[in-house]
Symmetry: C2
Subunit: 199 residues, 2 copies
């Protein structure tokens, strides 16, 4: 049921613009993310950006796809098929490995908060949420099938874990303390332990 996140491969140029957007977001924040700021990071004119992305919203939608792709590449590189280990890797990638990404997480929360006013961004954020839920659900369902996890509903378990991830990131923005990410990682771990079938 999960679509491939982007319909087509990004070109090298588009990839370079995405990396420039990434740097601009981290260095200047969402409020100062103008096409000009991205062009400066990219080292070309704003026209060169507009050739690929008509509006800032178009660019942000592409950027959200790019972030999802990066995460997918990262988790696909992990070569284990053990459901518990794969679930651990996913949760590490969503929580622990984010602690140095404060500025990016702030920018993402700004996009989430703006979602109700920007339909295309809202849709892409919902797709990202759906895809992450799909990843979690798949590994949990695999674990249930293999008898590693209790007979839980994979959709519910995936939603619960994603709620913990989102809550940790939101509190991280306000409290600026990576302890909240580690607390959430422990809570997710306790949840996973809880659904692990006793051997």
């Amino acid at each position: 049921m999960a679509d491939i996140p982007s319909d087509r491969e990004r070109t090298d140029v588009e990839d370079a613009i995405m990396r420039a957007t990434y740097r601009a977001l981290r260095e200047r924040g969402y409020a100062d993310l103008t096409m000009r700021a991205i062009a400066e990071e990219y080292g070309k004119t704003t026209a060169a950006i507009h050739y690929h992305y008509d509006t800032k919203d178009d660019l942000l939608v592409a950027f959200l796809e790019y972030l999802l792709d990066r995460f997918l590449t990262h988790v696909h590189d992990v070569e284990t098929t053990d459901p518990e280990a794969r679930l651990d890797d996913l949760l590490d990638g969503l929580l622990v490995e984010r602690e140095d990404d404060y500025d990016l997480i702030v920018a993402l929360l700004e996009m989430r908060a703006q979602a109700p006013y920007h339909e295309s961004i809202r849709e892409q954020l919902a797709r990202n949420d759906e895809y992450l839920r799909y990843l979690l659900r798949t590994v949990i369902a695999d674990g249930v099938d293999r008898g590693v996890f209790d007979d839980v509903d994979p959709e519910t378990a995936a939603g619960t874990l994603l709620t913990i991830v989102n809550g940790a990131r939101t509190r991280f923005v306000v409290l600026d303390d990576s302890d909240v990410l580690h607390l959430a990682r422990d809570a997710a771990d306790a949840y996973v332990e809880d659904i692990l079938e006793a051997e």
Copy 2:
């Protein structure tokens, strides 16, 4: 250790301005929350607002205190001392009873996302988080003392529940589907069941 949320009682005038802010936020959203918009809801001039709140940030800090006070009044009215029932009430108040407050929750997420750029708002949001954590921690500690709950660390348990609350609200903004609040309520419930001492 928890301070009383506001240092002094609000006057009737300040209370009326807070109610006007509440209506303005729900009807126009955070981006259109100008002093003029609040004055229109209040039925007086912007000068009448500025007499009490110099800046929009001052007003938003007061508004965050007001929301916390409202919640505290609500939970203090509940007349039960049973830890499990009180914890249920708190979680209902933070999750289930919020499902008709979509516009307000969007506005609050916007404030959270803006927190890194507005020190006074960030501090007040952190105080609200701390106070809610205090409420949860106190009831859990009481339950541990009475042998109703397992010997969990109340601070950790409170942080976990607040992470679930924040995650549910963040996903609610993007997905605009109150199912995420109910899923989170179920997850919180499962957590509470898990720490309940078997009788």
